[in-house]
């Protein structure tokens, strides 16, 4: 290479360098922000309803500038932009309620935070701490507990708003967002319509009385006596059964009432067993007619008058023979389908007038909703 060439090249290089320098000088932008971009940043709201009060905001982020000296964490809420340095418009109706706002459940690398009520505003929460080094890591805290001491959401529904999370060395959150913040980042939040959900469960009552194997088989007739339906022995109590199925979602429970009279043949009757459980007697001079709830279905409780043991029956005719009858069983509340068994018993005496004796017993279920 000749000297001229060298000079020429060097000159060109100088010109190029100068030009490049000029270019760099002219087009190079202002110095970039010093903050690192917080990662894994989020704000979880306990309610997205517009205007909701005492909402808890769970703030989480991970610092990326290791060993930064953190004196405060600032969370600034804006309706227009999350971009640091841009003007921030407070969301309509939004309020940090800084005077009463509480911070809970602080975890992570940024420790010792507390709310700076002096420097916080309606749309900015400043959390202060003693300046100290913070290694990189996750941090989270909750503003408000969801029931009190919380934040008031913006009043516009289905509307996005933003938050800027920034760490500062200053303890009061002061400083330029873009220059003085250590780590920072923006998040977006949104209010949303609250969905009103309703579903109706209709009142239900299923009640089936039968004498055959099950409700579907039905049956209404009960014969008391020997195989011919005859009270052939005056020292024997003859029994037979009827059943009822019950199910209801009535919160106040269901009362099953028994209504009816004792066995009668014209003007003659068989003496009812009485209002207390009475043992079945073998005395030939005594006649009896009674009932008992021999099996109470699940969830059902037999009334004490009819919760008689084996070989005992009762029949409180003074109350069964009234307008609405008398309770034989009840449920305390809603009950799934269950079956109760009613045992009927009759015995004649030597002086029980001959004849065909009948009665009709009605079971009535009353559900309270």
């Amino acid at each position: 290479m000749t000297f001229k060439t060298r000079v020429k090249r060097t000159g060109c290089l100088l010109v190029v360098a100068a030009f490049a320098l000029a270019i760099v000088s002219t087009v190079r932008p202002a110095p970039a922000a010093a903050y690192g971009l917080l990662s894994s940043r989020s704000i979880q709201m306990s309610s997205s309803a517009n205007g909701a009060t005492n909402t808890a905001y769970k703030v989480g982020f991970t610092t990326v500038t290791n060993n930064q000296n953190v004196g405060s964490v600032v969370v600034e809420f804006c309706s227009n932009t999350p971009i640091l340095g841009d003007a921030c418009t407070a969301p309509t109706g939004f309020n940090t309620n800084e005077a009463t706002l509480a911070m809970n459940n602080l975890t992570g690398v940024v420790t010792g935070l507390s709310i700076d009520t002096t420097n916080s505003t309606a749309n900015t929460v400043v959390l202060t701490r003693t300046v100290g080094t913070v290694t990189n890591g996750a941090t989270s805290f909750e503003l408000g507990d969801g029931t009190s001491n919380g934040i008031t959401n913006p009043t516009n529904t289905n509307t996005t708003f933003f938050a800027r999370i920034m760490t500062f060395t200053t303890t009061d959150g002061s400083g330029s967002e873009t220059v003085d913040s250590l780590d920072a980042g923006g998040v977006a939040l949104s209010t949303a319509n609250v969905l009103n959900v309703t579903a109706k469960v209709q009142e239900t009552l299923t009640f089936c009385v039968y004498t055959m194997a099950n409700c579907a088989a039905g049956g209404t007739a009960v014969a008391l006596g020997d195989s011919n339906g005859v009270l052939s022995s005056t020292s024997t109590t003859y029994t037979n059964t009827a059943k009822y199925d019950l199910a209801s979602n009535a919160l106040g429970g269901v009362a099953v009432k028994l209504k009816g009279d004792t066995l009668k043949s014209g003007s003659f009757s068989i003496t009812p067993s009485g209002s207390t459980c009475t043992v079945d007697t073998a005395a030939t001079a005594t006649e009896q007619f009674g009932v008992r709830v021999s099996t109470a279905g699940a969830g059902q409780t037999a009334d004490p008058i009819y919760a008689c043991g084996v070989n005992n029956h009762s029949f409180d005719v003074a109350n069964t023979n009234t307008i609405y009858g008398e309770n034989i069983s009840t449920t305390a509340g809603a009950t799934d389908a269950s079956t109760s068994t009613l045992e009927l018993a009759a015995k004649s005496a030597g002086t029980t007038e001959a004849g065909t004796y009948t009665t009709t017993l009605t079971l009535i279920a009353t559900a309270t909703y």
Binding site: A199, T204, T352, E353, A354, T358, L361, T368
Partner: protein
Amino acid sequence: MRRKLRQLNLRIPGLSRPRFLTLTLVLLLAAVVPFVVFGTSSAAMLSFRHLQLSDGTISHAGVKYSFSFNTNTSGPIGSVSFEVCSNYQYENGDPCTIPNGFDASNATLTGQTGITDFNLQTPPTNSRLLVRRPIATAVVPQQLTVEFSNLKNPSDIGSYYVRIQTYASTDGNGPEVDYGVVVFATNDGISISTEVPPYLQFCTGITIDGFNCGTAQGSFISFGELSSRAPRVATSQMLASTNAIYGYSITLAGSTMTAGTNVIPAMSGGISRPGSNQFGLNARANNTPEVGSDADGPGFTSPSNGYQTPNQFKFVNGDIIASSATTDDFRKLTMSYVVNVGSNQPPGRYVATISYICLANF
């Protein structure tokens, strides 16, 4: 690196702003479980509500329907409606299917508490009972009861629904104030039957232990050798019980003591006279002579005239010696026999065959 960070800071990482907003809304909606949303009434629900029937038997007439419920809204109540349906009405104004056989055309208002100036609008419209007040005055939440009488139950076994609605209007029109549904169930009653057979227990014997015919023993009485100086006596027993509603009677059948053509005269009622010719009986305890016992047992049957007086004896074929006018428990009679002979009574072996016939009247 810093410039790159600055550039990245202009937008949410990975998504443009519109797309991010869209995603947020989609996620919110996706978090909601699908369900059916009903339109809700602004009326409050009646609480502690129930319907009590006086009889749940299908097609039963003359039934009372007693409603009880608590209102929950303060304000004027002018009327209350009770609409009986075989279907469930989810919302006010839903169609109501009138239950088969249900009849409220003859219903009357027979009871009311809480508010006591209701009148029943007659005739009822289909299955809707409407009670109305003259003036819809304001009331506080309270328990109300309303009882209707003379309704006829549906003719099908099953569950039925009654929608209760209160209104500020006095004609059951306009928006409901409070509402609620109650459910009642119909079924068949239990028909119980049994047969008590006709019953008569009667037995005789020389002795019967207790009141058990199984212990009756003996049928032969021997007076031994008759004497003119003293009477000869003997006893037998009989036991009777029946459920015949008209009771029973015991008839004496037989003849006095005879030996061929020789007869010891039957007594027609009188005392025992040693040395005279006489044969008689009664059903009492005697002391002249000392023989017999009074009737015994839980029953009430008593000896009949002629045979019920101590120390008076009689024997007339066909006489009723004891009877009861109604059912009677066990009654044991002891028959006392007395025979006297005079010195002129021809010798011989004197025999009498006596039967007692018990007849029950059912």
